[in-house]
């Protein structure tokens, strides 16, 4: 069961309110997405922890209704 792109974005932003989120539908099939998430909350966290935070925001959808989400996370670069 595919998941709507807006719903993916909404869940990530609900879990990480200060995040900048960009999502691409990789195949146009509503089932394979790539997400780029930048959040100050990632500062000082390992990549694993950053991804786990996004997965937590997706509350169980990852690996279930959400089959494929290529994820790239980062903290904002210091200015």
């Amino acid at each position: 069961m595919p998941m709507d792109i807006q719903e993916v974005e909404r869940l990530i932003k609900a879990g990480l309110p200060d995040a900048k989120v960009r999502i691409e539908d990789l195949r146009g099939d509503g089932d394979h997405y790539a997400a780029y998430v930048e959040s100050p909350a990632f500062a000082g966290k390992t990549r694993i922890e950053q991804h786990q935070m996004v997965y937590k925001a997706l509350s169980g959808h990852m690996g279930g209704t959400l089959h494929a989400l290529a994820l790239r996370t980062s903290a904002p670069k210091p200015t």
Binding site: R47, I48, H51, Q52, Y55, G60, M62, G63, G64, A68, A70, L71, R72
Partner: protein, 113 residues
Amino acid sequence: MATLTNPVHERIASDIRDNDVVLYMKGSPVFPQCGFSAAVVQILSQMGVKFKGIDVLVDPSLRQGVKDFSNWPTVPQLYVKGEFVGGCDIVREMFESGELAELLRSKGIAASA
């Protein structure tokens, strides 16, 4: 990491203790059953890293167990010297940046690239 209270977790703990590089994956290294698993196999092969591939599709309890064990919702999952490194995205990112080669070197694991 989860506490070792169930046999599947004990099995995972011993797999990642007894093998330097372990990849939990869908399918086998020769016949991956999923594009993400195939991508990690390809990276490890390209780097000339010896690894043990464990097919989670043959055992539903392992498929779920490995997700609980690492608190990570998807497969593939790469472990180096007992430590969870990441899934396909992280492995690919680390490979491209050279961090993966650096990690393997720092753990004393032979890689040709």
